[in-house]
Amino acid sequence: MLEAHATRPAGAANAPAVSDCPTEVVSHVAVNAEYRHLVLRAGAPATLAEPGQFFHLLCPANGEDKPYLRRPMSTYRADPATGTVEFLYKVTGLGTRALTALASGDELNILGPLGVGFRLDPAWRTIVVLGRGVGLATLAPLAEAAHALGIAVTAILSARRADLVMSAERFAAIGAQVVPVLDSDGSSEPARVAALLDGLAEAGRADAVFTCGSNRLFRLAKDVAARRGIAGQVALEQQMACGLGMCFCCVRKFEVDGRLVDRRVCWDGPVFDLKEATSW
């Protein structure tokens, strides 16, 4: 069963308009061996992107790498005050490899902001964000938005090794309690992370849980949230062509009233209710 119209949350209608806009590279540095941090100068509506929304990047050709489609990237930061939009990305294939050639002063066309971001209930007092890898890029602005609403944040940051935990300082800067969990010492094992989350819920420190970047983390968050009856959201990824709900290539399965329905990650998401999202 597929839902084409009117599945977007009502609020999304008021989201900023989408613009297909040229930006200028302010800086572009390698964060570690795999990730790069790209800062762009942009105007509104790009800088109005909300946490969880994404952009569709027109990666320029770089030698033999000639990506044809755009590539989706979460908003790592968007700030109308500084007029910048930032991305944190992993070099994966053709498109991201082509991106690496961008230098300060170069132009980059980005389309956005796109999709439906995270929803924060002002009634919540404390939330947990649970991310891994590039999922942290997506969760950092959410934590900051929560902080702005006076909601406390616990950030469980999963990584292979301590030196690969990204953005910890951003979570720390808003006073979040940062809990790195690592493959290297076994602390990232699902059972142990689930226990951690359970403990937070038990302690009344998890009015809602947000996750991104790992199917294992998603499953355990969904599980704990269901067991505890707490709210939750997940930011999903799927291969995209248009990014605007037109092509139906980015569908995933969701459980709605006991049936599996297809929804478009770019248009109905990328942020979805944890209860409805299914494992991938």
């Binding site: 119209h5 062509a241 605007l244 037109m246 092509c247 139906f248």
Partner: protein
């Protein structure tokens, strides 16, 4: 002022530029004013609910896109109830793309869609005909004539028939559509293609095979428009790889009366606006008062494209 208005198979359009089926939806409304378009063409719909194909549904290629979206559809009733009213607040005419597995199925849909708010029907006959061993209607002149005749009897709306390039003789198929009563033909749909992931050895599309679109196929679709133009009395709507106004001009010169922009919209969402403005600018620059003057104006005197020697 350049005249951009065209009449395409009984439908008056403010300009000759419209989206290709399956590459357009209401999301574009957030990027530009949809009233600028010559027409709306919807994603193909079917009578009943359909889920579409397994993911991955797209992969890219050199200046092209492969898709095996299939036809996910919420069905005709949902479409009439929700989608037709959505487009009612815009000025461009709404052309509804339909598909069915049988001749009667096509006719029934056309009949049901002959309602206020629907300005025309585009029959996507590239789909398999279950009564003919799964062979696509548009691969054979006989099947094309059959389905077109049934559609013609079923609706008084302008009827466009969209052809597939996956046939050995597109001209014969186009002529069958004309004889069957089509008001215009759309040339054409995607070209059957595939890619394989050299890491996993798996096909890059969940459906294995998919359709190639985008700039890569432009010279092929353009050739088909040119070939059809030489033999048809009804208008042709050119479609395949259009990205710029120059591309649209090529199609008009080859004999198309209007054009559809598909895949490029995924890469450049404002591409259709660029084509419309660019067409006007082109005509102005060249002192052409009416865009219709470009239609079929290719300077090919002395050539017969049909019998030109094989390429290589």
């Amino acid at each position: 002022m350049v005249k951009l208005a065209v009449d395409v198979g009984g439908l008056a359009l403010a300009n000759p530029v419209m989206p290709a089926s399956g590459t357009f939806a209401e999301g574009l409304d957030r990027v530009f004013d949809l009233n600028r378009l010559g027409a709306f063409v919807t994603k193909t719909i079917t009578q009943d609910f359909r889920a579409g194909n397994p993911v991955p549904r797209v992969c890219e290629s050199a200046e092209g896109l492969l898709n095996s979206i299939g036809i996910p559809s919420k069905g005709l009733a949902h479409f009439i109830e929700h989608v037709v009213p959505f487009y009612a607040r815009f000025s461009p005419p709404l052309v509804v793309s339909i598909s069915a597995p049988t001749v009667d199925g096509f006719a029934a849909m056309a009949r049901a869609l002959t309602i206020p708010g629907v300005a025309g029907i585009e029959a996507n006959i590239s789909c398999p005909n279950i009564e003919e061993d799964g062979k696509s209607f548009a691969m054979e002149p006989r099947l094309t004539a059959q389905v077109t005749e049934a559609l013609r009897r079923a609706t008084s709306l302008p009827l466009w028939v969209k052809l597939t390039p996956n046939t050995g003789d597109i001209v014969a198929v186009a002529r069958a559509a004309e004889t069957g009563g089509a008001d215009a033909v759309v040339v054409s749909n995607t070209i059957l293609a595939m890619r394989i992931d050299t890491d996993t050895f798996r096909p890059k599309l969940g459906n294995v095979l998919g359709g190639l679109s985008g700039p890569a196929i432009k010279p092929i679709a353009l050739r088909m428009v040119y070939q059809c133009a030489a033999r048809l009395g009804i208008p042709i709507i050119g479609c395949g790889g259009i990205a710029t106004a120059e591309d649209a001009v090529e199609y008009l010169l080859a004999g198309a009366s209007a054009v559809q922009v598909g895949t490029t919209t995924f890469v450049r969402p404002t591409a259709m606006i660029g084509v419309i403005d660019g067409l006007a600018a082109f005509c102005r620059r060249r002192g052409i008062a009416d865009v219709n003057n470009l239609v079929g104006a290719v300077a090919d005197a002395g050539f017969d494209g049909q019998v030109a020697e094989a390429a290589s």
